[in-house]
């Protein structure tokens, strides 16, 4: 409930900010982190609603809050007009960030999964095991989360190409961001497949999911800051 309320107010803050920019907030870390946090919470609530389960909340929400706080600590640029406008571009940014938010969520779920699995297999049960959600639920939620991420990053990337085409008249120019995005997409598709039906299901798939998120973080940091010239903050 509280989270839902927070979402609504945060939505208006975002709206305000994008009015000032005439586009989605993407060009500074504060803006994109803020959007990220919002979408993260939104994805979590959607999952909670879809799976009719709230027991994960106690573990996931602190993580979401941490993101909000980081976003607020991040430097906020003054609002300067940018070259990037338009619905296609806005959707490109929003969907991509939504995908990262969904991946972050699946990361959290997988970490909890791995910790709980370790406890259960060691047969040394501490009190916390009885409060954790079941492994099966964590796995299912992580799945849905990755599915949301994969779909939105695919659409988001296509929209990105369309927008670049409109802007420059060419479909493709080399940007390391493309490569890493494709890698991310591939890795998550792999996870999705492995975790569903093969011998990798369970802890191995969850480890892959954790690893995948490190690649995403790489894409967010190293690639954005040092390699890519068109993707500064997302």
């Amino acid at each position: 409930m509280l989270l839902g309320l927070g979402l609504v107010t945060h939505y208006f803050a975002l709206l305000e900010r994008s009015r000032g920019l005439h586009t989605v907030p993407y060009h500074d870390l504060y803006g994109s982190m803020s959007l990220f946090g919002w979408l993260l919470a939104l994805t979590y609530l959607a999952l909670e609603f879809y799976h009719q389960q709230r027991s994960v909340g106690a573990f996931a929400v602190p993580f979401i809050l941490a993101f909000f706080i980081t976003a607020h600590l991040a430097p906020a640029d003054r609002l300067s007009p940018t070259v990037a406008h338009g619905v296609v571009f806005a959707l490109h940014v929003t969907l991509s960030i939504l995908a990262y938010a969904a991946f972050a969520l699946s990361f959290v779920l997988s970490v909890i999964y791995l910790a709980e699995e370790r406890l259960l297999r060691s047969r040394k049960l501490s009190n916390v095991v009885w409060r954790l959600p079941s492994l099966e639920l964590l796995e299912r939620m992580s799945h849905s989360s990755v599915l949301v991420g994969v779909i939105s990053i695919a659409i988001g990337t296509v929209l990105g190409f369309i927008w670049v085409d409109r802007l420059t008249g060419q479909y493709w120019f080399y940007d390391p961001k493309y490569v890493i995005t494709l890698v991310v997409l591939f890795l998550y598709l792999l996870y999705f497949q492995l975790a569903r039906s093969t011998a990798w299901r369970g802890a191995r798939a969850s480890k892959l999911c954790v690893f995948n998120f490190f690649v995403v973080v790489m894409s967010f940091t190293v690639v954005n800051l040092y390699l890519s010239h068109s993707h500064r903050y997302f």
Binding site: L120, L125, W130, L135, W200, R201, G202, R204
Partner: protein, 425 residues
């Protein structure tokens, strides 16, 4: 005396007495209506489970003998000698009775501390009595509060969450892995009493499918009919290990009946779908090394016993927190009860004074012949207004101020002071 409770439980009475004093639904309803028709109680509720038989009631105002009446009614109703019964029966009144019920529904009074069934049994007993029209405002409120206490204790403390037996520990662990068991399959190896206990637990937790495997097929068939399970032939592991998510094993055998290699093959065949194994055999039925197989969770008797030990200690640690919740609700209930009584008292007082006023004014004005009808009317109205004015403020304060209601401990004394008819008698 407002609320009375007479009953016996696993602490006060041996099973031979408990079973004679227990009630079927039909008996409960008959006892309730007889108690009311004989004027022993105005509201009644019979709570009868395997560990307790209790009658809760609200006696009529005039009766101060309700507990004695209730005891002799019980011995007559169940055809048990009064002297046998009196050793086992406990009597509680008002605060103690309320507190007792709240502790019962919290699971604090159960043989197995914090067990979950009692809350459902209290709910059923209340529903039954309510539908029969045996309860009234006091018991309704009291039992609704009791159900709330039960729910709160179970959600806010760990009293009820921890497994108390090896069988329930195993089933609860399975739920940690698979979530709800409705879509899951369990394979039970062996058909002894331990297997039966686990099957009971599994059935309670809504297991989807039960498979049974036993050396003697006959015994397995009997259990299978009882639990709506399916018997699978002994030793055909390749097929038998294909579908189950949970395996329970309690077979008397010198050597492990399932070896690591067999399980490894089975896991490969089932695409490493998680498998939870409870090995309850002694000597162990499953080769211990099987625990190393990917996605196999193997627990033996000692592991599960350790969990039970741990949770017993944990449950006992939770008692004070549960007692706090009970006390909080006892306080709430009593203050509700007092407020109802106080407000009722003020209303009675007002009716009484208005009645007195009419009689008084008529009597005194007999002699005042010089007053016109209009004057008389006005006098009467003025007296009425004065009374209202005097009573209005205390009445409002009683309705509004919780603290004041709490301070007035003895409503009966007030009633005695203002409303008793002793003088006139």
């Amino acid at each position: 005396m407002e609320i009375v409770l007479v009953g016996l439980n696993h602490r006060t009475a041996p099973v031979e007495v408990r079973e004679r004093v227990s009630y079927t639904a039909e008996q409960a309803s008959r006892a309730a209506s007889e108690l009311r028709s004989r004027g022993i109680l105005e509201e009644t509720l019979v709570l009868s489970t395997c560990n307790r038989s209790e009658v809760y009631g609200v006696p009529p105002e005039s009766s101060h003998e309700s507990a004695a009446g209730l005891s002799s009614f019980l011995s007559e109703f169940h055809k048990v000698q009064p002297d046998i019964l009196s050793v086992s029966l406990y009597h509680h009144y008002d605060r103690q009775a309320v507190r007792h019920l709240f502790r019962v529904s919290a699971g604090l009074d159960s043989m197995m501390l914090g067990e979950a069934e009692i809350l459902g049994q209290v709910r059923e007993a209340y529903k039954f009595a309510y539908e029969q029209g045996a309860t009234g405002p006091v018991l309704n409120r009291m039992f609704q509060a009791a159900l709330e206490v039960g729910k709160r204790v179970r959600s806010e403390t760990e009293l009820g969450t921890r497994p108390m037996s090896v069988a329930s520990a195993g089933v609860k662990l399975a739920e940690r892995i698979f979530g709800k068991l409705g879509q899951r399959t369990a394979l039970v190896l062996g058909a002894g009493t331990i297997s039966e206990q686990v099957m009971l637990q599994l059935r309670d937790r809504g297991i989807g499918q039960l498979l049974l495997m036993n050396r003697s097929r006959e015994r397995a068939e009997t259990l299978a009919t009882e639990f709506h399970g399916t018997v699978v032939p002994w030793g055909e592991w390749r097929d038998a290990l294909q579908s189950p998510d949970v395996i329970v094993s309690s077979v008397a055998a010198e050597e492990p009946i399932l070896e690591r290699a067999t399980l490894e093959q089975a896991m490969a065949a089932r695409g490493n779908r998680a498998l939870f194994i409870m090995d309850l055999g002694l000597p162990r039925n499953i080769e211990p090394a099987a625990a190393e197989i990917y996605n196999v969770y193997l627990y033996n008797l000692d592991d599960l016993g350790g969990i039970v030990q741990q949770s017993r200690a944990m449950r006992e640690n939770e008692i004070p927190r549960a007692e706090t919740i009970v006390d909080e609700h006892v306080g709430k209930f009593l203050s509700w009860q007092a407020s109802v009584e106080l407000v009722g008292l003020v209303d009675e007082l007002r009716a009484r004074l208005q009645h007195e006023r009419t009689a008084f004014v008529h009597e005194r004005m007999e002699t005042m012949k010089h007053l016109s009808a209009h004057d008389r009317q006005q006098m009467e109205t003025l007296m009425g207004e004065l009374l209202e004015k005097l009573l209005l403020e205390p009445a409002e304060r009683l309705r509004g101020e919780k603290e004041l209601r709490r301070k007035i401990q003895n409503v009966e004394a007030l009633r005695d002071l203002f409303l008793s008819n002793r003088e006139k008698q």
